[in-house]
């Protein structure tokens, strides 16, 4: 795959630790992946993915890494591959992953610890 061309304006390249910024490069890189996820608004498409994940990824011309990550429900890898969280949420739903599950996976915590971390942030104040 070609390296993405840097097209972001200076401010959009700002680094915020631990925080993916979905800008024009990511939108271009993840276009097909996000298109596949957008198709999951339709229940028939969710079923089609579940019965033939590889074939469904081929229909959307996902690259090898996007395909691997999509078939395995590997959300962090999908974000790195240009996935946008709002569209990926539809794929995560197929895998039965809640946003707490996703938070736990991305932070390396157990789901219980992640939920406790959320609750604790409310206790400080």
């Amino acid at each position: 795959m070609n390296a993405p061309v840097a097209t972001l304006p200076a401010d959009a390249r700002r680094v915020i630790p631990g925080t993916p910024i979905f800008g024009p490069d990511e939108a271009a890189r993840g276009y097909r992946l996000n298109a596949m996820c957008f198709s999951f608004n339709d229940a028939a498409n969710r079923s089609a993915f579940q019965s033939d994940p590889l074939g469904y990824c081929r229909r959307f011309k996902l690259d090898a890494e996007q395909t691997r990550a999509a078939v395995q429900g590997d959300v962090p890898a999908l974000i790195a591959a240009g996935g946008n969280i709002y569209y990926l949420a539809k794929l995560a739903g197929i895998f039965g992953l809640s946003v707490q599950d996703l938070g736990a996976i991305q932070t390396g915590m157990s789901v219980a610890a992640f939920k406790q971390m959320l609750t604790d942030q409310g206790k400080v104040h």
Partner: protein
């Protein structure tokens, strides 16, 4: 002439929709959040709005990355919800305030806000859940709507300044509408939360309270930051604050806070509710 009654600002976390469907309003987890709506219900009972202008963001139901408008306005007679892909109940349809949409489109474009105008527009949980919260159990929504969608999916996002100015332009347009409508403005989403990345689960109560404290009387301080500043302070999805800032702009210069509620956590979100009432004469002054 039309009356702008006030603005309702509220989180729109999808899990709220499931909690309502399951009747969990008095569950210990949910009670502190739902309790915040009592004063909103009381106010709506007296204010009797018949139109709602709603600033929200689409989460990949209506808009895809093939064509992503920065600002879009509905001009339809009806707006439907549809399957969002992850098991939310379907929400009731909304009747559009089509004539008012037309007036807003004319006024906004004349004022250099070049809106994307949508005659077909599915509306997602970000629009529907606030209605479920404001008018629980309603058989039919008591208000017609004008939806205004702000891009919070892909950067660059509109600046908070631009969103506030858009809202102010909407406010001037509403104030110049000669119809008898009683209008409530909604701003949905937020407050701080982040779903993606190693910082997932980030919340920022200090910044949230700063926003709640300044939204009413000093919205321009919130507009002084960039959208990426808000991402840093409120989290990737906390940038939905842009909807609140735009909605605030539509209320005119003078508002009074009727109620607020703030609770952590609802799902991964610092949930907030705020109601600002327009002071009489504020809109006339703004239109001048």
């Amino acid at each position: 002439m039309a009356t702008i009654l006030g603005g309702i600002f509220t989180s729109h976390v999808p899990a709220i929709g499931n909690a309502i469907a399951k009747g969990l309003q008095h569950d210990p987890y949910w009670e502190p959040f739902f309790a915040g709506y009592g004063p909103v219900h009381d106010w709506l009972h007296v204010a009797r709005p018949d139109v709602a202008v709603v600033f929200y963001n689409d989460h990949g139901l209506n808009f895809f990355l093939d064509k992503m408008p920065t600002f879009a306005i509905g001009a339809a007679a009806e707006y439907r919800n549809s399957d969002e892909g992850w098991g939310l109940p379907l929400f009731k349809s909304f009747e559009g305030a089509r004539a008012l949409s037309g007036h807003l489109v004319e006024a906004l474009v004349a004022d250099s806000f070049d809106m994307t105008v949508c005659q077909e527009m599915l509306v997602d949980h970000a629009l529907a859940i606030p209605f479920e919260l404001c008018w629980p159990g309603a058989e039919k929504w008591p208000v017609r709507i004008v939806p205004i969608a702000i891009n919070t999916v892909q950067h660059p996002m509109p600046s908070p300044r631009r969103c506030l100015d858009l809202g102010r332009s909407v406010g001037r347009a509403l104030a110049s509408w000669t119809g008898p409508e009683r209008i409530v403005v909604l701003g949905t989403g937020g407050l701080s939360h982040q779903l993606d990345g190693a910082r997932a689960g980030f919340l920022n109560p200090d910044y949230d309270r700063y926003c709640l404290d300044h939204l009413g009387d000093h919205p321009d301080v919130l507009a002084a930051q960039s959208a990426l500043d808000i991402v840093e302070l409120a989290g990737s999805q906390g940038v939905e604050l842009l909807n609140w800032i735009a909605a605030r702009g539509a209320l005119g210069d003078h508002v009074v806070e009727i109620t607020r509620n703030y609770h952590i956590p609802i799902s991964n979100t610092a949930a907030a509710t705020m109601l600002l009432e327009c002071r009489e004469g504020a809109n006339l002054k703004q239109a001048a």
